[in-house]
Amino acid sequence: MAILVIAEHDNSTLKGATLNAVTAATRMGDDLHLLVAGADCGAVAEAAAKVACVSKVLVADNAAYEYQLAENISRLIAELGKNYSHVVSPATTNGKNFMPRVAALLDVAQLSDITAVDAADTFQRPIYAGNAIATVQSLDAIKVITVRGTAFDAAAAEGGSAAVEVVGSVHDAEISSFVGEEMAVSDRPELTAAKVVISGGRGMGNGENFELLERIADKLGAAVGASRAAVDAGFVPNDMQVGQTGKIVAPELYIAVGISGAIQHLAGMKDSKIIVAINKDEEAPIFSVADYGLVADLFDAVPELESKL
C-alpha cells in the first residue's frame, strides 16, 4: 500500500518541512502520494507534483480547508488515510494540531516527532525532552506519524512529475472558525530552515540588545532565536524560542549568546552541526555542548564579532 504525506503550505507556497517528511516517508515504502488540502491552492499542487519520489498529488481545494482547521481537515485525511499503510505529516504546529485527530478517527496510535525510521513499522523518537530516545514499534495497520524535520534531509523540490488528482470530498464540521492571525514579519530566514542561527538568552539584558544579534544575523543571512529565559523575561516574542517547548533547530552553525544552556534549550539545538557559545560564566552548561566556546562579556564580544565578519 502507498504512503500518504500531508503537505505543509500556506495556499500559495509549499513549505520546506514537507520535503523532510517526504524523505522520511521514502524509508517506509516506495509509493508516495502527497495531499494538498487548502483553498485556492493550485500553485502548491503544481509545486508538489515536482517533488522527487512522489507518484501522485491529491488536491482538496475548498474553503473548509483554507486555514487547516483540525476539525475539518482531520476528517478528510482520515477518509483518505483508510487506503494507506502510513499517513505522514511534518511535525509543524499544523501537523501536531490535526494528526492526533486523524489517528483517533482511524482508531490507531500516533507516533509523534520521529527522528529515524528503523523499519516500516519501527521508529525512533525523542522522549523526556530529548534526554532519551525511544524505539517504538507500531502494532496498528495504519501508521499515523509526524516527522521532526531537522532529523531528515530535504527531498529534491524539483525533478518529479506526479499525476495530480482532484479530491472532491468536503468536510466542514462547522464547529470551529478562523478569527485572525498575527504573523511575525521578517526578511530573515525562518528559524527552522536557516543555515545559521544566532540566539540570545537572559544575558542579553533586554529586548533592545537583541539588535546586536540582528546585525550579525543580517551579515550572515541568519535567523535570530532566543532561549526560554529570554522569552519569559519578555525580551522577545515567543515565536523566537528555541528549545524543547519552542522550535527545534539544527543549522550548520548555531551561535548561543548569553545563554546558560538549560536542558530545555539544549533539546532544541544540540543537533546543530557547529555550536558556538559566548558567555561570561565559564561554568555555564552551554560550554559542554559547544564546539567553540568563548568566555567573555557578550557586550564586548558581539560587536567585535560583527566587525570581523
Binding site: I175, V179, R228
Partner: protein, 249 residues
C-alpha cells in the same frame, strides 16, 4: 459553566533523567515526581475562570495508580473543587487515555475541557486532539489566550511564525502552551483544605473502556552525547576556527 481539567504525574522537570542500563526504559526509581508543567497551567486557567465567575465548578481527572492522587490533591489545593482518578497500573497510551477521558466527559458533561498540550515524559502532544475527535468537539491547541464569550470560546494559539485565533463552539477542548498564565503556588491552609475535598476512583471496566496496545516500546537508549569542544581566547581565534577549521563561514 462546568470546567474539567486533566493532570498527569510526571518526573519533575528539574530532574535529569537517566536511561536504565538494560535499555528497557528510563529509571524512575526514587526520582522526584510532580505535576506536568503544562497541566499546572491548565489547572491555573480553570481556577481563574472560577474566580472570574465564569466557571461554576472545576473537576480534575488523572489516570494511573494511587500515587497520582498526590497530583490530584495538588490541583485541589490550587482551587479545583473535586477530583476523579481512573485506576490503571501504569500510564496508558494517549488513545487509551483519550477513550477513558471521553467516558468521564460523557458523564460529567463539562462545557470546557482544559488540558496540557503535552506531558514532558513521553512528549507526545496527542491526547487533547484525540479526545476532540472521539467527542466530535472543536479544539484550541497550544493556547496563549482563552476568552469565553456567548456560547463560544476564542482561543489564541501559538503557531509556527506567530499567533492564530480560532472561535470554537462549546463544549470545546483547550490545550495549554507555556505563556497562557503563570501558575500560583498552593498556600498551606489550602493544602490542608484539599485533603477534605471529594476524590472518586473509577476503573476502566466501570467506564466500559478496553485498553488496547497500539504500540510496543522496544528499547530506550541515551541520546548521542555531544563532546565539548575547545575554548577560544579571542574573537579573532573564533572567526579563524569557523572559517578554516569548521568551514561554516
Amino acid at each position: 459553566m462546568k470546567v474539567l481539567v486533566t493532570v498527569k504525574r510526571v518526573i519533575d522537570y528539574n530532574v535529569k533523567v537517566r536511561v536504565k542500563s538494560d535499555n528497557t526504559d528510563v529509571d524512575l526509581a526514587n526520582v522526584k515526581m510532580a505535576l506536568n508543567p503544562f497541566c499546572e497551567i491548565a489547572v491555573e486557567e480553570a481556577v481563574r475562570l472560577k474566580e472570574a465567575g465564569t466557571a461554576t465548578e472545576v473537576v480534575v481527572v488523572s489516570i494511573g495508580p494511587k500515587a497520582c492522587e498526590e497530583q490530584i490533591r495538588t490541583a485541589l489545593a490550587l482551587g479545583v473543587d473535586r477530583g476523579i482518578r481512573i485506576e490503571t497500573e501504569d500510564s496508558p497510551e494517549s488513545l487509551n487515555v483519550a477513550k477513558l477521558l471521553a467516558k468521564v466527559i460523557e458523564e460529567e458533561k463539562p462545557e470546557l475541557i482544559i488540558m496540557g498540550k503535552q506531558a514532558i515524559d513521553t512528549d507526545n502532544n496527542q491526547t487533547g486532539q484525540m479526545l476532540g475527535a472521539l467527542l466530535d468537539m472543536p479544539q484550541g491547541t497550544f493556547a496563549s489566550e482563552v476568552q469565553i464569550d456567548d456560547g463560544k470560546v476564542n482561543v489564541t494559539r501559538e503557531v509556527d511564525g506567530g499567533l492564530q485565533t480560532v472561535a470554537l463552539n462549546l463544549p470545546a477542548i483547550v490545550t495549554t502552551d507555556l505563556r497562557l498564565n503563570e501558575p500560583r503556588y498552593a498556600s498551606l491552609p489550602n493544602i490542608m483544605k484539599a485533603k477534605r475535598k471529594p476524590l472518586d476512583v473509577k476503573n476502566p471496566t466501570d467506564l466500559g473502556v478496553e485498553l488496547k496496545a497500539h504500540t510496543q516500546l522496544l528499547k530506550v537508549t541515551p541520546p548521542e552525547e555531544r563532546q565539548a569542544g575547545i575554548k577560544v581566547g579571542s574573537i579573532d581565534e573564533l572567526v579563524d576556527k569557523l572559517k578554516n577549521e569548521a568551514k561554516v563561514l
